[in-house]
């Protein structure tokens, strides 16, 4: 199963995605963490997510760029969080893929799908605030939008989480 979980900030999408992992009960679990800890606020967010995962038996692998090099072989379920961070890293970090980020990330996703039984990817809706950003940010929105679309094409299920409530946009709720 390949499931894409998306939603706004603070919508409860991480909690939902972790719940999905536990429901599938396909161990061992790997958490692919993509948030680069560049300041104190990131550290706090990371700590909050770690606390949420405590006692859920996840191994954690940090992957800030170069997803296709991440080795998840042997894992039953992989939870990648979050695509918006990974995309930003590929765009803005020194060793990032820049304008090749879409293809590079999709290569990584396709490889992960062959390595594990279930892949759950958390992404983010950053497209509807009606603000016109400068070129760089607009490009980021464009790349992430394209990645989300192409992930959704591949996915068995696409779920949007609205204030903790899952809304199924693609797939069969009872499948898998």
């Amino acid at each position: 199963m390949f499931i894409v979980v998306t939603g706004g900030s603070g919508s409860g999408k991480s909690e939902y995605a972790e719940q999905l992992v536990l429901e599938h009960q396909t161990k061992p679990y790997l958490y692919l963490a993509t948030m680069y800890p560049f300041d104190e606020e990131c550290h706090r967010r990371i700590a909050r997510h770690r606390a949420m995962r405590r006692e859920k038996e996840f191994d954690t692998l940090e992957c800030y760029t170069g997803l296709k090099k991440a080795d998840a072989s042997g894992y039953g379920t992989v939870l990648l969080e979050c695509m918006s961070n990974l995309t930003a890293n590929e765009l803005y970090q020194k060793d990032g893929a820049k304008e090749r980020c879409v293809e590079e990330i999709l290569l990584g996703i396709d490889r992960l799908r062959t390595q594990c039984k279930h892949l759950i990817v958390v992404s983010n809706e950053i497209f509807s605030d009606g603000i016109l950003y400068e070129k760089e940010t607009k490009e980021y929105q464009k790349y992430l939008g394209e990645i989300n679309r192409r992930l959704a094409e591949r996915a068995d299920q696409v779920v949007e989480v609205v204030y903790s409530i899952p809304i199924l946009h693609k797939g069969d709720k009872d499948a898998g």
């Binding site: 497209f127 609205v162 903790s164 409530i165």
Partner: protein, 126 residues
Amino acid sequence: MILVTGGCFQGKKAYAYKRFGILEEKGVDGAICEMEALYSAKLLYHFHEYIKRMMEKKEEWSLARLKEQNPEIILVTNELGYGVVPVDRFDREYRERTGRICCEIAKEAKEVHRVICGIGTVIKGG
């Protein structure tokens, strides 16, 4: 408790008045009301603005108190968080906090409605 959410200018308030048979004058504006009004209002709109004022005044949020004192309230709120991470720290915390509080409320609510173009979809209960 009932939660009505959706983007701005989608007709959430009008939908809620009509759907739940509440007179407009009974609606309380969360952007300007007394903070205590939350615990007696039949319907409170601009709940996201209420949360923002709560943060500015550094007031505590307690779902337990709301459940105890006003369990039948209808809350109408903008759905925030569908944009790029804001540059301003307070803005970031505000949209995050609104999300977390609305998740708590949605879990507790007997119904959650989401309004787009004036059309409501029941996404929980109902």
